[in-house]
Symmetry: C2
Subunit: 138 residues, 2 copies
């Protein structure tokens, strides 16, 4: 049993052929992917399967869903040992308005946000839109 399979099992996800492929696909990408991206990469499989795979991955802490403001959900693998649910471990996301790519800036944690009296924070989403390194470089 290879490494990916073992990892999925550790996360309580059965390592089916499709799941292994999707995992590897995401691992090799440096940017966040949309369901449609995966769909285009695996035309043999059905959209529903891919959709539910992402949900399963998300529920088991393998990927996190990213709302980058485009209206299209993106997904990216979680960092090794990341705790996305915990406020202290949330990082910021960057969406490039030129190439339309979204990246995790995992090094850039979301600062603590002060709220007015009576407000309780459960989750924070911080998205910066602009020009990415690749696009500004030329």
């Amino acid at each position: 049993m290879n490494e990916v399979e073992k990892f999925l099992e550790d996360q309580k996800v059965r390592p089916t052929a499709m799941r292994i492929l999707i995992y590897k696909y995401m691992a090799q990408k440096k940017i966040a992917v949309a369901l449609t991206d995966i769909e285009n990469a695996f035309t043999k499989s059905d959209r529903t399967t891919l959709y539910r795979t992402l949900k399963t991955f998300e529920e088991n802490g393998i990927v996190h869903q990213i709302d980058d403001g485009t209206g299209i959900s993106k997904y990216a693998l979680c960092e090794n040992g990341c705790n996305c649910e915990i406020e202290q471990d949330l990082h910021l996301h960057f969406h490039c308005s030129n190439c339309n790519e979204t990246v995790c800036l995992t090094e850039h944690k979301i600062p603590h946000i002060n709220l007015p009296e009576g407000y309780l924070a459960e989750d924070v989403n911080l998205v910066v839109k602009g020009i990415c390194e690749k696009c500004s470089g030329q």
Copy 2:
């Protein structure tokens, strides 16, 4: 000519009956509203008109659109003399997972975000999800 009419004209928006009503509706609300909210409040008017009114308002600095992560666009009146476009004037938004309401926290400006070399920020969206003052109070 009353105050609302004058204000709309100042913003280069023709003060039609519908626009005045929508403006007053939003002014009296303390929370951000969705197109559907306005639709329900003005069943006599058509969704398209309301939709385009919001766009017109937005283009002329009367309202700002809010992406609170629910997938449904919300709108709120801009503060007097606010400059939503400018990064320094961006405030944070709070979405209550209990009552599902979204509010502008206009006092809480978005802190400056450091980005890696090569990244250029054009816009920042910061949304905190949790329990609002009203809902935590009981």
